[in-house]
Subunit: 214 residues, 2 copies
């Protein structure tokens, strides 16, 4: 367990979808923040400067920096004082980040038990495994289902988050998989009412959150 | 003077053009390296992983790392042990890089005296000013000519490199501008014979290089 431990339960990560400009994305993140444990800021077409302006707006709006995870741009995380990065397969390696930026906590996306063992051995603090259910984002690629998810979650040290096609009603069965949480992109950020969507996930997840001492 | 001082003269920077894959780009850089003082690796569509594979190939081919400047991806420079970065206008700021990565030397692209003063005051080690001559890369944007270049070169601390439409025959007049060198992209990397093209620039520049003690 390396993300801030909140007790037994299912956490909610919202992954941004690279479809909004900085101002609009900031507004949506601020709106959904009360319902979300972490955000992966994954904006492939945005420049470093746009990332930094986004973080500036979020800080001005008092979004908790501990909730923010920067995808790929480790340098942006460093200069904005964000201590978590998500490393895509085409990005820096875990080993590189661990040796040159030892204060950063690191997540990886994985798609098989083999990738999970390797990433976990290399010191990944958390892993996103998917896609678990069918999703329009991965058309034509069959969903991986829950068995492998369970196998991974029970056998690696890193926290496991499930991603891909997850609906609020899936949380009941996902909670049995020994995972740390779920990650959601389009169902929140493509929604006409992102805050309402996030709240539904939050409520589904909260049923399994028993905050220690809370 | 912040890049490695080679004595009075005109240095040659080759700027990559983001048109080749890793293997081909590595081959071209290795070929032209004998004629080039610095490379700005500016591959906007390449991933961090591709940058790192490129650097790996160049290291394997014994390209002098001191000649390499990474555009934009400061994190890539750090993990590959490259100590120079070129910061685009949409990238991290000079101030950010200076405070979080104090060991890196930094260059900036500028287009006016105002930008030159500001970048120089902020501690830029070198500046690329352009475009000086008409170039197909900046169609419809009038060339800035030599007067402003001279004004900047004589009034800022940072080293000035001219860029934009420079041909080998321009070096004679450019050498009178008090600049540190020239930067060339398409005339080298779009050439059918990149090594021959680089050699022509090198010969034009070398006429003004009097190596100290050499």
């Amino acid at each position: 367990m390396h993300l801030q431990r909140r007790g037994l339960g299912v956490e909610l990560i919202a992954v941004t979808n690279d479809r909004f400009d900085v101002a609009m994305l900031a507004r949506i993140i601020v709106e959904v923040e009360p319902f979300v444990d972490y955000f992966i800021i994954r904006e492939r077409t945005k420049t470093a400067n746009e990332y930094i302006r986004l973080i500036g707006r979020l800080s001005a709006a008092k979004v908790n920096k501990e909730k923010l995870i920067i995808n790929d741009r480790v340098d942006v995380a460093v200069v904005t004082g964000i201590n978590k990065v998500q490393l895509p397969g085409h990005g820096l390696t875990l080993q590189q980040v661990k040796s040159y930026f030892p204060n950063l906590r690191t997540g990886r996306s994985i798609h098989s038990p083999e990738e999970a063992w390797e990433a976990s051995r290399s010191g990944a603090d958390w892993l996103l495994y998917g896609h678990v259910y069918d999703t329009d984002c991965k058309k034509g690629v069959p969903a991986r289902g829950l068995e492998e998810l369970k196998l991974i979650a029970e056998n690696v040290q890193s926290d496991i988050y499930a991603i891909g096609g997850i609906k609020p009603e899936h949380v009941v069965e996902l909670n049995k998989m020994n995972i740390r949480g779920i990650a959601v992109m389009s169902s929140i950020f493509d929604s006409a009412k992102p805050a309402r969507a996030a709240e539904e996930y939050h409520e589904a997840c909260r049923a399994y959150q028993f905050l220690e001492g809370g």
